[in-house]
Amino acid sequence: MSIEINHLEHVYNAGTPFEHSALHGIDLSIPEGKVTAIIGQTGSGKSTLVQHLNGLLIPSAGTLDICGFHIQPLLKIKDVKALRKEVGLVFQFPEYQLFEETIEKDIAFGPKNFGVEEEKANELVKKILPMVGLDESYLQRSPFELSGGQKRRVAIAGILVLDPKVLVLDEPTAGLDPQGAKEMMSLFMDLNRIHNKTILLVSHDMEHVMRYCDHVIVLDHGKVLQESDVHTFFEHPEWMIKVGINPPAIIRLKLMLKEKGFLIPDEILDLDALVKCVREQVMLHE
C-alpha cells in the first residue's frame, strides 16, 4: 500500500507571535517498495513533512494515509506506538540518540519499548547487527567508544530492529567520509531490494539520489515543486539549477559540454554512455 498525502498543511505555534506555516497543501503519493528521494533546500519543509509520517507531528489540515493508519488534524492517533513500529524514522546524526552502556542494550531499547521480552529482544539484536556491518564482538562494547560511522550504524540498527515496513532516513550520510557514505547507501539498497522495505530518503546529495533512488520529490517553501521518476528528473536538469540544487558532476559536465556545442541526448545519465557519445562527436571530425 502506498503512502497517500492529501492537502497536508502544517502550522507551527499557531495563534502565537511565532506562528509559522511550514507546509501548505502537500499532495503526494509515495510508491510502496521503492526508494523515494525528498529533496529541497534547508527550510523547504522536508523535516516537517517527514515527522508527520510516524505521528510525531499531526497535520494542521489535510490527511495522511500510511500503513493502514489514517491521520487527520486534531485527532490523537489511537495507537501511535503501532504506527511508529511500522514507520521507522532515522533522524539526522542519529548517533546522538545512543545512551545505553552496551550496544546490545541500546539496540534492544526499541523492541523493549514495544513490549518485546528482553531475551527475545537480544535475539533480534544479534540478527540485526550483521545487517549494519558489525559482528557479535560489538554486542558488549560501549557505543561511546566507537567511531562516528560505527555509532551511526548502531543507531540505525536501533530502528531496523523494529522491522519497520517503511524506513524514513533524514540525511543518513551527512558528515560521513565518501567511503562511509557509500557503504551506508548500499546498506539501504539491500534493505530495499532484499528486505523489500519502502525507503524515503531525505538528501542533499544529488549523486546519491541519481544513483540509488527510483522516485524524486522536490519541496520548495512548503510546497511540492516537482514529482517524477528519477530518470525524467535528471534528464531535465536546467530547472534544478534554477531552484538552487547543485546537480551531480556528470550532469554538470553534460551542461558544460552542451554549452560548447556538443550534442548530448537528455537520456544519457551514466559515464560510459557519455564517453561514447562524446567519442562519436570528436571522432566524427577526424
Binding site: 533546500q41 534547508t42 567511531s147 562516528g148 560511522g149 551527512a174 558528515g175 567520509d177 565518501p178 567511503q179 562511509g180 542533499h204 546529495d205 544529488m206 538552487g244 540544487i245 547543485n246 551531480p248 558532476a249 556528470i250 554538470r252 559536465l253 558544460m256 559540454l257 560548447k260 556545442g261 556538443f262 559515464l271 560510459d272 557519455l274 564517453v275 562524446v278 567519442r279 562527436q281 570528436v282 571522432m283 571530425h285 577526424e286
Partner: protein
C-alpha cells in the same frame, strides 16, 4: 621561507598509542595545500597540533619560522586562523557582528577601529546584510562564512580549514569552496585545508595524504590521483572529472589525464575544433 614546517611530529592522546607518528612536511608560503586521509588517519589531530590546542609528544612545529611552544602560542595565533567542522559550535557571538568582533576583542583591537574591520570582513564573505542576524537564523554555510570573516578580520598569514564543509549542504559546500579558492588568489596567504571533498583537492596546489598517522604520499593532486591502487586501498575516492578523463584516455580520445570538469571540457573542445 615556509609558512609551516613540521618536523618528526609525534602525538598520542593516552601516552601510549601514537595517533601521529613521526610526521614531517613543510608548506610553502602562499600555497594552497589539502590534507586527505580516511577517518581516523589523524587529520584533525594535525590541525589541533598546528594551532597549539594539543601539545606535541615530540618533534617540532615551526610557524613562519618560529617554533610553536607554550610561550609563543598566543603570539602565533595572530598569524594562524582556523575554521572548524561544526558551524554551530564555533559561533560565539549572539549576532554576526558580535561573532566577528570576538577575535578582535581578544587581540585588543581598539574599539573605534572595529566597526570598519567587521564590515570589510563581512563584505569579503558576502555576509554584509546579515550583520545583525542571530546564528539560529543562518544556514550552516552562512555560519561558516561568518567564521571565515572572523578570521579574515585578524588578517592572519595562514588559514586552516578543518573539514569545514563536511557538515554543509551542497550549496554551502560550493560557496565555501569558492570562498577558499578566492582567498587563495588574494595576497600571499597560505591555506591548509583538511578535507574529504575530492573536488576541493583537485583545485589545490599540493596534497598530503595521511594514513594511520603517517604521511603516505605527498605531491600535486594529479600525482596523488595517479596512484589509483593506493588511493583505493586507503578508501579514498578520485574526482568524477578524473574518472571521466581516464575513460577518455582508455578510448584513446585524449592522452593527458586531468582532474577538473573545466579541463575536461577544454580538452574536448580543442579536439573538436582542431579536427
Amino acid at each position: 621561507m615556509d609558512a609551516i614546517q613540521v618536523m618528526n611530529l609525534t602525538f598520542s592522546y593516552d601516552g601510549q598509542n601514537d595517533v601521529i607518528k613521526d610526521v614531517s612536511f613543510s608548506i610553502p608560503k602562499g600555497s594552497y595545500t589539502t590534507i586527505i586521509g580516511h577517518n581516523g588517519s589523524g587529520k584533525s589531530t594535525i590541525a589541533k597540533l598546528l594551532i597549539g590546542l594539543l601539545p606535541a609528544k615530540s618533534g617540532e612545529i615551526r610557524i613562519l619560522g618560529k617554533t610553536l611552544n607554550e610561550e609563543s602560542v598566543y603570539e602565533l595565533r595572530n598569524h594562524v586562523g582556523i575554521v572548524f567542522q561544526n558551524p554551530d559550535n564555533q559561533f560565539i557571538g549572539s549576532t554576526v557582528a558580535d561573532d566577528i568582533a570576538f577575535g578582535l576583542e581578544n587581540h585588543c583591537v581598539p574599539q573605534e577601529e572595529m566597526q570598519a574591520i567587521i564590515e570589510s570582513s563581512a563584505k569579503k564573505v558576502g555576509m554584509m546584510e546579515y550583520l545583525d542576524s542571530e546564528p539560529t537564523k543562518l544556514s550552516g554555510g552562512q555560519k561558516q562564512r561568518v567564521a571565515i570573516a572572523g578570521i579574515l578580520a585578524i588578517e592572519p598569514e595562514i588559514i586552516l580549514f578543518d573539514e569545514s564543509t563536511s557538515m554543509l549542504d551542497p550549496q554551502g559546500k560550493a560557496s565555501i569552496n569558492a570562498q577558499i579558492k578566492q582567498l587563495h588568489t588574494q595576497k600571499d596567504r597560505t591555506i591548509l585545508s583538511i578535507t574529504h571533498d575530492m573536488e576541493e583537492v583537485a583545485q589545490s596546489d599540493f596534497v598530503i595524504v595521511l594514513k594511520d598517522g603517517e604521511v603516505a604520499m605527498t605531491g600535486s593532486p594529479m600525482e596523488i590521483f595517479a596512484h589509483a591502487k593506493e588511493m583505493e586501498e586507503m578508501k579514498l575516492d578520485i574526482p568524477f572529472a578524473l574518472k571521466f578523463s581516464k575513460e577518455l584516455i582508455k578510448e584513446k580520445i585524449t592522452d593527458q589525464p586531468v582532474c577538473t570538469l573545466e579541463e575536461v571540457v577544454k580538452q574536448l573542445c580543442q579536439l573538436k575544433s582542431t579536427t
